[in-house]
């Protein structure tokens, strides 16, 4: 029998996926509070519907869909976010718990990636999704997901090379 969501173990599941979900939500909103709102709505919706917890792509799709709704609800906010994302500036609030300067440089390089590459990287590295699951989440093919991932790593490597 496949494991399904139940009210008894939501806390374990949420503890495990919440940091990655928040990082994923931050691709569209720069405020940590907004990202938490999105993650809460997506997770509660997912849990209430008693989906199979193995079907992670569905959970990440929910986050993405709710993030789009969130942006649409407030057009002024959307314009601000779009401008922000277009300029690919580093996030105002840190996305990572940084320990040293090397990690800070890496975090800045990640934030500077184009959005399509960054979201694949976030899903792959910090959410452990397969390329197939990433494709399902983002509505792209498995090969496109893998290709974006390689571009992301390549760009990061270039960005981190000493000048």
């Amino acid at each position: 029998m496949e494991p399904t969501a139940s009210y008894d173990n939501w806390r374990n599941c949420f503890s495990e996926v919440a940091p990655g979900l928040l990082l994923f939500a931050r691709q569209w909103v720069q405020s940590a509070a907004d990202a938490e709102d999105i993650v809460q709505e997506a997770f509660v919706k997912f849990w209430r519907r008693n989906h199979n917890i193995e079907n992670r792509a569905l959970l990440y799709s929910a986050v993405r869909s709710i993030a789009f709704d969130f942006i649409r609800r407030d057009m002024r906010r959307a314009r601000r976010e779009e401008t922000f994302l277009a300029e690919t500036e580093p996030a105002i609030e840190p996305n990572f718990e940084l320990q040293d300067d090397t990690q800070s440089a890496l975090a800045v390089a990640v934030d500077s990636l184009p959005r399509d590459q960054r979201e694949v990287l976030v899903l792959k590295i910090w959410n452990d999704l397969t390329f197939s699951e990433i494709g399902g989440t983002l509505g792209i093919s498995q090969n496109t997901a893998a290709s974006r991932y390689r571009y992301a790593l390549s760009n990061l490597k270039k960005a981190l090379q000493p000048q």
Partner: protein, 177 residues
Amino acid sequence: MNDFSELEKDLRKLRPASPSPVLFERVEHALEGRRASVSEAIGKQSNFAERIGKWWSLGFGLAAAAVLILFAVITMERRHERQETVAQSSAATAEPSVPQGTVQSMTAGRFVSTGGTNLVYNTRDEGLHFADGSERPVRRLRYQTQQTWRWRNPETGASLRVSYPSEEIVLIPVSGQ
């Protein structure tokens, strides 16, 4: 060998920011609220109440329409019976009287539908939503309408009109970009 294995290792060492403890409380509160409502609805599907909520206005409208129709039919029958009694007593004919039940059923069947209208007075685009079990978002449109139905009794010329508000939700699949 993967050229990026070292970089991947460094990336995995980066730990995403932890959620605030308040978020856990909020999720718990939302799920607890749900659990309470689920326990109240014993033996019913969890989304049954939601479905009922969506169509309550339609159900209420139909119930009101049914009551109005019944009321109108009963009124018409009483009037018809009174006319027949007056006609029979004044003419004092020896014709056999028609049983009352037969008259009622005949009268009730004489109302003929003459059509109806469905006036959409408000359309609201509620944006993209993630439908049940679907991996693609759908656009939700809410139509608020005023439905009107008309009947006419060709014999007596009596007409009946029932009008009630109704709400319809349409989900349109949105293709990915």
